[in-house]
């Protein structure tokens, strides 16, 4: 079964040439890997390749075909691009520009929102202050913007990557 796998910025073509129990012969971009792979714990794989012992952990994202993959010191974003995924991606709109909203990379609590809907703000203006574990972080707009919509209020508990403000 050949398919594309996106790993960070690289797109790899991967094919399973042979499989017998835990042994697999895998082709990645034309190079062959004869490996032995077993899942030893939930989402943790042990791989032996040319004798070397690798431990690889997968953290599935919401979409079951997307993973964060951790090796000893590195962490990768990996997407399996099979036929279904390709179809869905072809239908996706192009304007996937995340700068039309403000969100935070971690959960926390809204401390203050020094702007209101309709405000015109200049580049570098703080539009929301969020605290987590006693540390406060300010989030700013990078260009001149208009505040379109404020989706949270002071004191709200927010999730990581939750959209807090829409801007335009």
């Amino acid at each position: 079964m050949a398919l594309e796998i996106q790993i960070n910025d690289r797109k790899a073509y991967v094919d399973n040439l042979n499989q017998e129990d835990s042994k697999m012969l895998i082709d990645i971009d034309g190079k062959h890997y004869e490996i032995d792979i077993v899942m030893v714990e939930d989402n943790v794989y042990s791989i032996l390749y040319q004798g070397k012992s690798y431990n690889v952990e997968l953290i599935p994202k919401e979409n079951p075909k997307s993973y964060i993959v951790n090796t000893l010191y590195n962490s990768y974003d990996v997407d399996i691009i099979d036929a279904e995924r390709k179809y869905l991606m072809s239908r996706k709109s192009d304007d996937d520009d995340d700068s039309d909203s403000i969100s935070t990379p971690m959960p926390g609590k809204v401390v203050s929102i020094p702007v209101k809907t309709g405000d015109k703000v200049s580049a570098g203006t703080t539009v929301i202050v969020v605290s987590a574990m006693k540390m406060e972080s300010e989030y700013k707009v990078k260009k001149d913007r208009v505040i379109k919509n404020i989706l949270v209020k002071e004191g709200d508990i927010i999730l990581a990557n939750q959209i807090l403000l829409e801007i335009e």
Partner: protein, 499 residues
């Protein structure tokens, strides 16, 4: 005799205290906020009670509620841990009024040491060297210029009520001084409700070296040697070790004696820590005294061979210290790394969230004091420290090698952690040589944050693991779709199973 004890804290320190209680056959009572119902300290205690909503002010800092619960549960003592109410003189006093033993010194010792200006004065009277500077709050700004000419630039302006770097300003040129004093005052007022500030000489290349002390209620006071705590970022300790790689036996003895004198000057009893700032030539000055158990106390426990929590309880029981100074010695070398839920690549931003997977380091010379477990959600309300990894080695080199090995074994996913950053610290040549001061992290930030090279084929192995997982899932889905046609299979199965 203390037979039942309330731990007015959470996280690793609450569990650590309860472990010693269990070994002493003392029953424990935990308190928890709504954010902590699933936390380890609730599961570990003999009894556990809700104390309030998540913000500390409504739970772990709520003196009235805690005293009330302590009375209701008929505990003999309260252990405050570190942080929260541990250095709150009012809380110590309220415990006393309620007839409950507060595991710590008298409220008076806490008060004197809690205010930096009064602490400096008391130390000067006791003959303990303090950093050259003012001994009174700055009121008359006109005297400031004379003073800094006496001391010599650069100087630090510090808040008397301060802590954590707030209300602190470095001044290198005379003309900056008045603006800096005013800014520090305003910041101190905001942060602590007290605008008293004072001036200290700025120590170049400073080392943070502290002494553990222990005293009983009969004036017997000993020190348990030093801890080197100069690996810091934003005035927060990250790695501690003992013995200090820069210490000499002569200076150790003198500093230890001053630490004991510092404690005696405030009629101290219980466990405490006297912090010194030293320069490269081991000139040392009293910085402050922490009137509680310290986060990094385990390295002292390991090298000296005592259980400090048990000794705290022993002293609280009105017993004499179970050792005299001459019986104490240091054996080998211990290092502690603090593991934080934070993202070193993103300005060390806190990273609360759910622990997806955890593998803890084990084996010879490794102690691990933690409280999280797989599936636990680290709440956003409290300190981001996940655990403390403590190793011991016959030599400093062995301890460093062992810490590297332990960090290598330690895996936590779901939240970002400082584990890899700490591995870099352990491998840094300056740390290896023991030549570092409190500027170590900021001076070496680039090296310490550089991503580790992929070893061999790790990108390909990541692809392979994801590919294999995908194939397995596809196969399972195919099987399930075929199996689904067999409508009554579940009922049939149940009927066939013997109970």
């Amino acid at each position: 005799m203390i037979q039942k004890l309330l731990v007015a804290n959470r996280g690793e320190i609450a569990v650590r205290i309860m472990r010693s209680c269990r070994e002493m056959d003392i029953k424990t009572v935990s308190i928890y906020s709504d954010a902590d119902r699933s936390a380890q300290h609730v599961r570990y205690a003999d009894e556990a009670y809700r104390i309030g909503s998540p913000p500390s002010s409504e739970s772990y800092l709520a003196i009235n509620k805690i005293i009330q619960l302590a009375k209701k549960t008929k505990v003999d003592a309260i252990h405050p841990g570190y942080g929260f109410l541990s250095e709150n003189p009012e809380f110590a006093e309220r415990c006393k009024e309620a007839g409950i033993e507060f595991i710590g010194p008298d409220s008076k010792a806490i008060s004197v040491m809690g205010d930096k200006i009064s602490a400096r004065k008391t130390m000067q009277q006791a003959g303990v060297p303090v950093v050259p500077g003012t001994t009174e709050p700055i009121i008359d700004e006109s005297l400031v210029l004379n003073k800094i000419r006496d001391i010599g630039l650069p100087v630090m302006i510090k808040a008397s009520a301060g802590g954590g770097g707030k209300g602190m300003r470095k001044v290198t040129e005379e003309k900056e001084i008045l603006a800096a004093v005013r800014a520090a005052k305003s910041e101190a007022k905001d942060a602590f409700g007290d605008d008293s500030v004072y001036i200290e000489k700025y120590i170049e290349s400073p080392h943070h070296i502290e002494f553990q002390i222990m005293a009983d209620k009969y004036g017997n006071t000993v020190h348990l040697f030093e801890r080197e705590c100069s690996v810091q970022r934003r005035h927060q300790k990250v790695v501690e070790e003992t013995p200090s790689p820069v210490m000499t036996p002569q200076v150790r003895e003198i500093m230890g004696q001053h630490a004991v004198n510092a404690a005696k000057a405030v009629n101290y009893h219980g466990a405490g820590t006297v912090e010194f700032i030293t320069d490269d030539d081991l000139n040392f000055y009293f910085l402050e005294m922490n009137t509680r158990l310290q986060v990094e106390h385990p390295i002292t426990e390991r090298v000296v061979g005592v259980d400090l929590v048990k000794e705290q309880i022993n002293v609280a029981n009105g017993n004499r210290l179970s050792f005299v100074q001459e019986e104490l010695s240091q054996k080998g070398h211990a290092i502690e790394c603090r593991i934080y839920a934070e993202d070193p690549d993103n300005k060390f931003m806190p990273s609360p969230g759910k622990i997806k997977h955890i593998s803890e380091p084990l084996g010879l010379g490794v102690r691990h004091d933690g409280y999280v477990y797989k599936g636990y959600v680290i709440p956003i309300y409290y300190d981001p420290m996940i655990s403390k990894l403590i190793v011991w080695g016959e030599s400093r080199t062995e301890a460093i090698n062992r810490m590297r090995r332990a960090l290598y074994e330690y895996k936590i996913t779901g939240v970002k952690t400082s584990i890899q950053f700490l591995e870099k610290v352990m491998k840094h040549p300056e740390f290896e040589k023991g030549i570092y001061n409190t500027h170590f992290i900021e001076n070496n930030e680039k090296d310490l944050l550089e991503p580790e090279d992929c070893e061999g084929n790790c990108e390909e192995m990541a692809i392979i693991a994801a590919f294999k997982d995908y194939l397995t899932k596809q196969k399972r889905m195919a099987l399930r779709q075929n199996g689904a046609s067999d409508k009554n299979s579940k009922w049939k199965m149940a009927g066939r199973t013997k109970h």
